[in-house]
Assembly symmetry: C2
């Protein structure tokens, strides 16, 4: 290794890509013992012909596994280059939820082609899964769950899970249902292993599993899985019939995606479908420009406020010195309490009913913060201004921090109540609001207390 | 089957608390079929005597399970009220990582008492786990993993997992090691079920499992589990000996905690140990005041900038009208690109080496945004100012949005390079920086272009 390389060592995917790029290398050897996710990342970086040769060195189950990890663009590129037979084998072996994701990302012609290579039962399953609207539990669940009948004995159930092991997303939690597919309970493989040979499934299953409706928000599923540490969350329809499962790794992805979505929304950026590096510039521009322009017109109120107090400002130019400090502090305090509230609502630590308690606590903290800040700014301003101006500044600071904090606390609750995403409140929106109130409070107090 | 509805008006925990509060109710009946997490939430809300009576209605395994879900405060309160024998039974049955968490939260006297009720081997295990510093993989791993020898046959391995099922965190992935406890591979229960009776563990195990070092950052473990969809991530020491596992639900908690921590840090709030409602007001105050005061002194530069341009401002008071719009827009654009960068770095979508590519793309987007904003502000200002001032404003807006965006992009990379958390960049810090540059750019251009 050359000495100039101080950056991190090559990632597993880079190692695989390098091994595959050897002119006389054996792809089978290069891929042996490698993780599907790393192989997928390596294939994305390779020319189509090389990627195809590598993919063909794997057996069908692993091909499907790797294919599921590919990004949409690479799926389309490699999918188009495969023979019809290969495509059918891979799509047939993919897990049902990943297949449905792929289907949703295709155009109509691609969707037809995908349906064309599937057997009839699979085709209907795919159509059903893909029909769930984006953001619902149905859109992220999978239908290849393990299933047991209630009257099976433990050895029968174990044998049934053995048979289902190849085609199921997981066999560690099986759903149990009656003849009408109404969910009766769930059985963990662990409890099955601990049961005696005579025990029947209905006697050892958990009869009160937590479930979620397919038409619920996908965030609900993630929150439930996180709260109860579930490996598998059964999904039911309005009649209590089982329709799928959401697994813990799905919930993991949702939490990460929602955290990103919330963070972006909080910074007034629209949601992005792909990684920031893969997103076309025009989409990035569009995700950002809307709020920015809206906030320009919003901050016109601040400007108008300033203009209204032109007389006061002209008479006391030293007031200007403190303007960025005051409105900045209000915005910062507001952003702090908005973010605390948004995260607490997102994780379920705080519920809408807690608003009153949160408010009382926020007033106490914000008064403390405001007084501290007033003191800090008075010190900072000693050399810049006389006592009357400093009094106005300190008084304004206390009020601006208090009002900013209360705005930051209240806005997320209001947005949630209106059915909007509270995360929208946490960044530039609350900052802009605090700017306007800051200008009005500051120059309002100055006009009242200072001679013009 | 009763459905556990999480969104319903009365939460499951509230239902349990209400059932337990019935004067002549049977706690056993009130708790039957309930989730441990819900029981824990209910117990937290009850008086100690009632909570104790309810806890005593459960068997030891479930007691330990519920106890693990309790918040620290309730653990301390109920733990102190239990008999020594009960305490020993519960602590003995708790999963090893939760027991270590409990131990870490106790004072020295409490720690002594906890060690006192454990058998010697357990005591040493607990000391070892609790010794890992906060934030490391070691501090979140658990040592109650399932273990197999490489030369076991499939039926022997299945029998071994049966024996370990009660005391292990999970039996769905078992570690395989040699006589020196050096990790040789992992075996999933699924592969074990699919193996023939003659197969030996070493022949069917995964010989190239992803592992993590115990002294690595806990976020690394979460990222690895998320990338490879692992149920269990084996943890090894510097010599490759197995020391524990991190499970998917641990990773889930970490992602949620880190998202909260990043969001708070981005809003210049210090990390909190507990829910915002459970955090003492003094701690909340302290978590917020530091950055606020620091930023006051930071924005003194903006104030000083304004003061330096007093002459220009006095000659063209209409410039003031646009000040909040301009510095607000720069801050907003900066917050947008900072947040995009922070999230992309946090999820691993973008690596430090991508800075150049990100920069080129950001310039393109930011120039587009800046021109759009210049146009918007020129329209907004038509009635307020004459052509020379509008020219200054439009020019400043383009530059301010561009510089703000580039600051927002660069700051997280710089912080990461310096070994600090990039999330610190995304909120008030970048906004304050943009304020200063905005003031200098705006009045600098005005002084250059407008007659004084």
């Amino acid at each position: 290794m050359s000495e100039t390389e101080v950056e991190a060592p090559a990632s597993p995917a880079e190692e695989i890509a390098a091994a595959l790029a050897q002119p006389d290398g054996d792809p089978r050897a290069a891929l042996a013992g490698r993780q599907a996710a790393d192989i997928a990342t390596a294939l994305e970086a390779l020319p189509t012909a090389d990627a195809l040769a590598a993919l063909r060195a794997l057996d069908t189950a692993r091909q499907a596994n790797v294919f599921g990890y590919l990004k949409r663009k690479a799926q389309a590129r490699l999918g188009a280059a495969l023979d019809r037979g290969e495509r059918a084998a891979i799509v047939g072996a993919m897990s049902h939820d990943e297949r449905a994701d792929l289907y949703r990302a295709l155009n109509e012609k691609g969707q037809e082609a995908l349906l064309g290579v599937l057997a009839r039962a699979e085709r209907e399953d795919l159509r059903r899964l893909a029909a769930w609207p984006e953001g619902t539990v149905g859109s992220i669940m999978t239908s290849d769950y393990a299933f047991l009948w209630p009257n099976m004995t433990a050895p029968e159930a174990l044998e049934a899970l053995r048979r289902q092991a190849v085609d199921s997303e997981t066999v560690y939690t099986a759903l149990v249902a009656d003849g009408d597919y109404r969910l009766l309970g769930v059985l963990s493989l662990r409890d099955l292993l601990l049961a005696g040979d005579k025990a029947r499934v209905e006697a050892i299953m958990d009869r009160d599993p937590v479930t979620v409706r397919a038409d619920a928000d996908r965030e609900d599923a993630a929150q439930i899985i996180g709260r109860y540490d579930l490996l598998v969350l059964p999904v039911v329809d309005a009649e209590g019939r089982m329709v799928g499962i959401v697994t813990q790794d799905d919930a993991f992805d949702i939490v990460e995606e929602e955290a990103t979505e919330d963070a972006l929304r909080g910074a007034s950026v629209g949601a992005l479908d792909a990684d920031v590096l893969d997103t076309p510039l025009a989409i990035l521009y569009r995700a950002r420009v809307g709020w920015l322009v809206l906030l320009v017109f919003g901050s016109m109120f601040s400007g108008a406020g300033l203009a209204a107090f032109e007389g006061t400002i002209a008479a006391h130019m030293s007031l200007l010195f403190f303007l960025p400090l005051l409105i900045g502090s209000g915005g910062n305090a507001g952003a702090q309490s908005a973010t605390l509230t948004v995260r607490a609502l997102a994780t379920g630590d705080v519920r809408p009913a807690d608003y009153g308690r949160m408010m009382v606590r926020e007033v106490a903290v914000a008064v403390g913060l405001g007084l501290t800040m007033a003191f800090a700014i008075a010190i900072a301003g000693l050399l810049r201004a006389d006592a009357p101006v400093l009094t106005v500044v300190a008084l304004s600071m206390t009020l601006i921090v208090l009002i900013g904090s209360l705005l930051g606390l209240t806005l997320p609750f209001l947005l949630q109540r209106a059915g909007l995403d509270p995360a929208t409140a946490s960044g530039p929106l609350v900052t802009s609001l605090c700017d306007v109130t800051g200008v009005l409070i500051y120059f309002g107090i100055a006009t009242l207390l200072l001679p013009v």
